[in-house]
């Protein structure tokens, strides 16, 4: 609001005009779509967890690791086939927040820079989007482990 006061009359007029023609964001609808798409991905993840528990020697605790790997692999394949893009357009955050969004970020960056060559293009840019996620994950895990170790040392 404070910024608007500094606008000159022409700018204010333009803002009003823009407001008139601006399309309203369907926030509620986006939330509902994200809820369903995200929930569907989690449902598939649960089914994969049961699959590993049932057919392989994984317990409830250890089945999480192969489940995450499988979900990322599937989302990478779907990104390559061009299906995950449609899902992303429909579900928004519902498809980006689960771990499948990570796979999508890696492969879409690789596809985008394919024309620049395998080393400087794909190799240099594959972790452009997902790299920050990996760094953040590794670093925060390091900090948490450090805190846990310190508490363990102090507490005996």
């Amino acid at each position: 609001m404070a910024k608007k006061k500094n606008l000159n009359p022409d700018q204010q007029k333009y803002q009003q005009l823009q407001k008139k023609h601006e399309l309203k964001r369907p926030v509620l609808m986006n939330c509902i779509r994200a809820f369903w798409v995200g929930g569907l991905i989690c449902l598939i993840g649960q089914a994969i967890t049961y699959f590993y528990i049932y057919f392989f020697n994984f317990t409830e605790q250890t089945a999480g690791n192969p489940t995450v790997a499988t979900l990322i692999f599937i989302s990478m394949l779907l990104t390559g086939f061009g299906i995950y893009d449609h899902l992303g357009q429909f579900g928004g955050a519902g498809s980006a927040v689960p771990v499948t969004g990570f796979g999508n970020a890696v492969i879409s960056a690789a596809i985008e820079h394919r024309s620049e060559g395998y080393v400087l293009g794909v190799g240099g840019n594959i972790f452009k989007l997902a790299g920050s996620v990996i760094v953040f994950g590794v670093f925060s895990a390091f900090v948490v482990a450090l805190i846990k170790t310190l508490i363990g040392m102090i507490g005996g």
Binding site: I53, T59, T62
Partner: protein
């Protein structure tokens, strides 16, 4: 466009089939649905061979079921070792560690002549049900069952 679309679906179907191929199981009725439904498996007595009394194991089962947060219990006994696995009600799943601790304490207090391995892991539950079915259908002898009992017990400590 249509051809490309068909090709895409062909590949998706191909990978799905590949993923699920070879997964046909020879499980019994109870273990097939053990992860989704309440199956209420009968207690299993592997050894001692002479004893056929599962009365005490039924009591152990009742002790676990009467707890408000659990609902499906599988019990197996080998000599003085008892393996107890149960399912936790969905609303109580945040308190799983606490429930496990309390149940272990309760069982050790009520039945001091046994050593208990208590777990709420679905895998352990499923494996106890499978073991019971194999013993009942005589697909597994007692020696193998004893070995399998030990393997199931170690699953509890597996972290990777």
């Amino acid at each position: 466009m249509m051809k490309q679309f068909r090709k895409r679906w062909f590949w998706i179907a191909f990978f799905s089939v590949l993923l699920l191929a070879g997964c046909s199981s020879q499980d019994g009725q109870q273990s097939r649905t053990a992860l989704f439904k309440k199956v209420d498996p009968a207690p299993i007595l592997i050894s001692p061979k002479s004893s056929k009394d599962t009365g005490e194991l039924n009591d152990i089962k009742k002790t676990v079921v009467t707890d408000d947060s659990t609902y499906d219990v599988a019990v197996a006994r080998k000599d003085k070792e008892v393996l107890v696995s149960y399912k936790v009600k969905h609303s109580q799943r945040f308190q799983m560690k606490k429930i496990e601790k309390e149940l272990t304490k309760k069982l050790e207090k009520n039945y001091p002549h046994y050593t208990f391995s208590v777990s709420s892991d679905y895998k352990i539950f499923l494996e106890i049900v499978r073991l019971g079915e194999k013993l009942e259908s005589k697909k597994m002898d007692r020696k193998k069952a004893e070995k399998r009992f030990g393997e199931i017990k170690t699953l509890k400590d597996e972290l990777t």
